[in-house]
């Protein structure tokens, strides 16, 4: 009799042994002497977590219930490993290059680091994975119960629950201890993988041992067994083609979609070449695992009392034969299957929960950007992973309690499978189709998850447990086409096939159409290319070493960025430091780091990292690197654009300043010239006045001279006054301070006044007029207009150089204005002077004769502008001619 306490002791010793194995493996890995740890054999064995307690115990039960159908569970992975290992290679390569930590990370990373997708995938895995964890707890608990029963105590529900609780607790401790030692997902869980490999061997040995015992020990050799098989009801099982296909598909898909499988297949993969070995070794392992399933089932059905649980034949058969040692080995095999699966599944799910749910929330709350490397965040992440592990196991335990452990093992397993395969379309689409988008993936996953929950997961609790029986039979709200097990009114299909068919169909449909109808973000596009073309770049995926980078290649690159002098100086200095002659030093890690720092000073950190990564080989350039490079480039571009804009603005400002300066200079020159002109115009008459008044003060001046000099003084005084008047007039006109006094009058009267005032009637200038044309009304500032006329007539008087000077005044009417032309018979003004004459102090003839300061025409022009008209020189008139244009009103 095997005491229960001994069993518990053996189990504890076994776990302790696993601890030691895991611990030693970790130590070896840490010291770097563990090449054998990275062997393809260990990798293959670690894949065996596919064979859980479900396979270990459940396969026999499955065979006992449904005949050969259990084989599909092994056929799926076998087909994938052998037939589609190219896809696995792609998956592993992507995982390596993108530093993927979980399947949720894979999907989120593929679709532009979408947090939402990560959350959806995590949820799917959690919901589908929890029953699976519960299943393992159940199997371990049941096996304990079997031994307890064998020892004479029949466990009640309370005992079972307590045992399950202890198992869950123990597994949580083990997983926390070895699953969260390292934070970086890149550092693999060597200890765990090693422990799993050991467990893989134990369960294979146990199952084969039981099989050998059954076939040769009880069954009487292979031939007898064959006869028993043919005689057994297993033969009679009708194999439904649809179910076979569905199950093979499910197991194949689950093999790559299950979080724990992804963990060992991709995350824990040390070398993608291991796949080549695993592609034949793992199917071999599965073959061995399935070899004795049918014999055990047949013999169990034969020998054991009717109604015994076929799921536990592997245990109960040896026990019934009194083979307690073998039963113990078998127990350890089942225990190994359960624990290894739970540990890896828990790590995988905890990583997802932590990375995709807890940490984003935490980071969001505390607003700590890029905190991965700061110490306290490290603590937070570790803590969140540990809590996640505890939560996942607690969920499994709760599910176990809620479901009551009643459903058969295989059924739970298939429900889980159907759940995780919802990830398949998006995963394959992401790996092979660049057009897949975030929107499509989100739609597909959500629809798939919903259909699975509605048609399989919720009903699996039993009619009325969660979904009321009425809904199950009539659909929600009486909508018959939404009945969970008869969607769209298609009835009579196996619920599993029904669920897989509809969920996959709708999932893929929404994924594809959502992708076709939406546009990927730039990051998605980049990631898509990275994922789909992952195999196009290089073939080697072996771990890279710094020695891969040739010093010369590095020098070439660094020269390109820093210039040859500086680059050669850096390399030579390093070579000297290393005690080598010449330019090329040994490429050490420190040197690479030093180079990266130097480069990042020139091209930015991300670019430098990407370049060095490229040069040192293997690592490839991650999309984040590329994005960061693009960001840097964009920043630089923006910066230079800003600089350009700034310099353009400065140039504009400078030009404006230059123009203003030139204007001011010109104004200053004008002002100087003006002042100097005024000075001259004022000082000249004053000189005469002063000089002659001094002369008059002398006593010895003749009387007639005295009279003459007094006259000069008087003339010059008048000249001064006129000059001052003109200056003031001009100043007022130019400042626009003049107020116009608009009146109506007749043109003839105005010209009369002007002729009179200018003194032309004294006879030295003949004025010729056309009285009829002058009979026109005008409304303007009449006095100002007359002032202009006077000026023009006076000028003709002064400057007309003919012996018989004549001035013709011609008034002509236009639509809105009068033209008044003043044309004398003089020699005219040369073209180059025709404009100059309107400038201040311009005098083109001898000033003594003119007697004015040269302000007259300038004043005239100002006045006419004020009146809305103009005065200009009229060329081609055989004499000096001015035209006054004045508006009629």
């Amino acid at each position: 009799m095997l005491t229960f306490n001994l069993l518990v002791a053996v189990a504890l010793v076994y776990v302790a042994g696993l601890f030691v194995v895991a611990f030693l493996a970790e130590r070896q890995a840490a010291s770097g002497h563990a090449r054998w740890l990275k062997s393809p054999l260990i990798y293959t064995l670690s894949l065996s977590i596919y064979c859980t307690a479900w396979t270990f115990y459940g396969a026999v039960g499955y065979a006992a219930r449904s005949g050969l159908e259990f084989v599909t569970i092994y056929l799926g992975p076998t087909l994938v490993m052998i037939g589609w290992w190219a896809m696995l290679r792609r998956l592993v390569r992507v995982g390596r290059e993108q530093r993927i930590t979980s399947i949720a990370d894979l999907i989120s990373s593929r679709f532009g680091k979408s947090t939402q997708l990560g959350v959806i995938v995590t949820l799917i895995c959690l919901v589908a994975g929890t029953p699976y964890v519960a299943l393992q707890l159940q199997s371990v608990t049941l096996s304990f119960a079997i031994f307890a029963q064998d020892a004479g105590t029949v466990w009640q529900a309370g005992d079972l629950n307590a045992a399950a609780g202890w198992v869950a607790f123990g597994l949580a401790v083990f997983t926390v201890l070895f699953g969260t030692r390292n934070l970086d997902a890149n550092e693999r869980h060597h200890g765990i993988v090693m422990a799993i490999a050991v467990e893989a061997v134990v369960k294979l040995v146990a199952l084969v041992a039981v099989g050998v015992f059954v076939v040769w020990g009880i069954g009487g050799g292979p031939s007898t067994i064959m006869q028993s098989i043919e005689a057994s009801p297993i033969e009679l099982w009708d194999q439904s083609g649809g179910r076979w296909a569905t199950l093979i598909f499910l197991s194949a898909a689950a093999f790559i979609c299950l979080p724990r499988m992804f963990q060992v297949l991709v995350v824990e993969n040390a070398d993608e070449r291991h796949l080549r070995v695993a592609s034949w070794a793992f199917p071999l392992y599965l073959l061995l695992m399935s070899l004795f399933v049918v014999p055990i089932a047949v013999v169990g059905l034969d020998l054991l009392p009717a109604g015994s649980n076929p799921d536990l034949f592997v245990l109960t058969l040896p026990l019934s034969q009194g083979r307690e040692g073998l039963a113990m080995l078998s127990f350890l095999g089942g225990f190994s299957s359960a624990t290894s699966m739970v540990i890896v599944a828990t790590i995988a799910m905890a990583t997802m929960v932590s990375n995709n749910i807890i940490v984003p929330i935490w980071l969001h709350r505390f607003k700590q950007p890029s905190a991965v490397f700061s110490g306290d965040v490290r603590e937070v992440i570790l803590l969140s992973r540990r809590i996640s592990i505890a939560c996942v196991l607690a969920l499994g335990f709760i599910y176990y309690r809620v479901s009551g452990g009643g459903t058969s093992l295989a059924a739970i397993g298939l429900v889980s499978f159907a759940g995780v395969v919802q990830i398949l379309p998006v995963m394959l689409g992401g790996l092979f189709w660049r057009g897949a988008t975030r929107i499509g993936a989100g739609l597909g996953l959500s629809i798939g998850l919903t259909v699975w929950l509605w048609t399989l997961f919720l009903p699996s609790f039993g009619a009325g447990a969660i979904i009321p029986t009425a809904v199950l039979e009539n659909g929600p709200f009486g909508l018959g086409w939404l009945r969970p097990q008869a969607l769209f009114g298609i009835e009579g299909i196996d619920p599993l096939i029904h669920c897989v068919m509809w969920s996959m169909l709708l999932n893929s449909l929404f994924f594809v159409s959502g992708s076709l109808l939406s546009f990927p973000l730039p990051l998605e596009r980049l990631q898509g290319a990275q994922f789909v073309n992952v195999l196009d770049r290089g073939t080697s995926a072996s771990p890279w070493t710094v020695a891969d980078a040739g010093a010369e290649d590095l020098l070439v690159m660094v020269q390109r960025i820093l210039g040859s002098d500086e680059a050669q100086a850096i390399f030579q200095k390093e070579a000297e430091r290393q005690g080598k002659t010449g330019y090329l030093p040994e490429v050490t890690t420190q040197f690479i780091e030093q180079l990266e720092k130097r480069l990042s000073g020139s091209v930015g950190a991300a670019t430098a990292h990407a370049m060095i990564g490229q040069m040192t080989g293997g690592s490839g350039v991650r999309v984040e690197d590329l994005i960061a490079v693009a960001d840097e480039a964009a920043q630089i571009l923006e910066y230079s654009n800003r600089l350009e804009a700034k310099s353009a603005e400065q140039e504009r400002t400078a030009r404006a300043l230059r123009q203003a300066n030139e204007k001011l200079k010109a104004l200053s020159i004008q002002k100087d010239a003006f002042l100097s002109q005024i000075s001259h115009e004022l000082r000249t008459p004053m000189t005469s006045i002063r000089s002659f008044s001094e002369i008059l003060g002398d006593t010895d001046v003749a009387a007639d001279a005295r009279e003459r000099y007094a006259q000069i003084i008087q003339d010059e005084a008048v000249r001064l006054t006129r000059l001052l008047d003109d200056l003031l007039d001009l100043a007022v006109l130019e400042n626009g301070q003049v107020t116009l006094n608009k009146q109506s009058g007749i043109m003839r009267d105005l010209i009369d006044r002007a002729v009179q005032a200018s003194g032309a009637q004294s006879g030295d200038l003949a004025v010729l007029r056309e009285p009829l044309a002058e009979e026109v009304p005008i409304t303007t500032d009449l006095d100002r207009l007359v002032q202009v006329f006077i000026n023009l007539i006076a000028n003709a008087r002064k400057y007309c150089d003919r012996p018989e000077p004549k001035l013709r005044i011609v008034v002509s009417e236009r639509d809105f204005a009068y033209h008044i032309d003043f044309v004398d018979n003089g020699s005219g003004i040369s073209p180059q002077n025709q404009q100059v004459i309107f400038e201040k102090f311009s005098r083109i003839t001898d000033q003594g004769k003119a007697g004015g300061a040269g302000l007259g025409l300038a004043i005239c022009r100002e006045i006419m502008h004020r009146l809305g008209g103009d005065v200009s020189y009229l060329p081609g008139q055989y004499g000096t001619a001015f035209r006054v244009v004045v508006p009629k009103t």
């Binding site: 100087d672 000189t687 006045i689 003339d715 003594g848």
Partner: protein
């Protein structure tokens, strides 16, 4: 016969005033009004003193001064510049071009008389 003064000036009243002052003091005053022909006048009649206005019709007094100073026959003649503009830069220009003295209008008669006496007798 007193020494000859050539007055190059275009304002008739100022010509009359200066002529009166200097004649009374015993100098022979020749006058010339046009800038363009001033140098010809100077060469044909080398005076003992030139009184030269800056603003002349045809040619500026400064140009005439420059020619005068570079011509063998006239370069040693003392020149008194007259200007009504009275700006520093004119004074500087006159000094640079070799004017002996610079006088701003309006002036006092005594000032003109004393200066001419000094310049000719020096």
């Amino acid at each position: 016969m007193g020494k000859r003064v050539l007055l190059i000036e275009d304002e008739p009243n100022i010509i009359e005033a200066i002529s009166f002052i200097l004649s009374r003091d015993g100098w022979t005053v020749h006058t010339h009004e046009d800038g363009l022909t001033a140098m010809d006048k100077l060469r044909s009649l080398p005076p003992d003193l030139v009184i030269l206005d800056v603003m002349l019709p045809g040619r500026s007094g400064f140009d005439i001064l420059r020619d005068l100073r570079s011509s063998e026959t006239t370069k040693n003649i003392p020149v008194m510049m007259l200007t009504a503009r009275g700006q520093d830069k004119d004074r500087d220009m006159a000094a640079r071009l070799g004017a002996t003295h610079f006088m701003t209008k309006p002036f006092s008669n005594a000032e003109v008389r004393d200066l001419v006496r000094n310049l000719i007798e020096a």
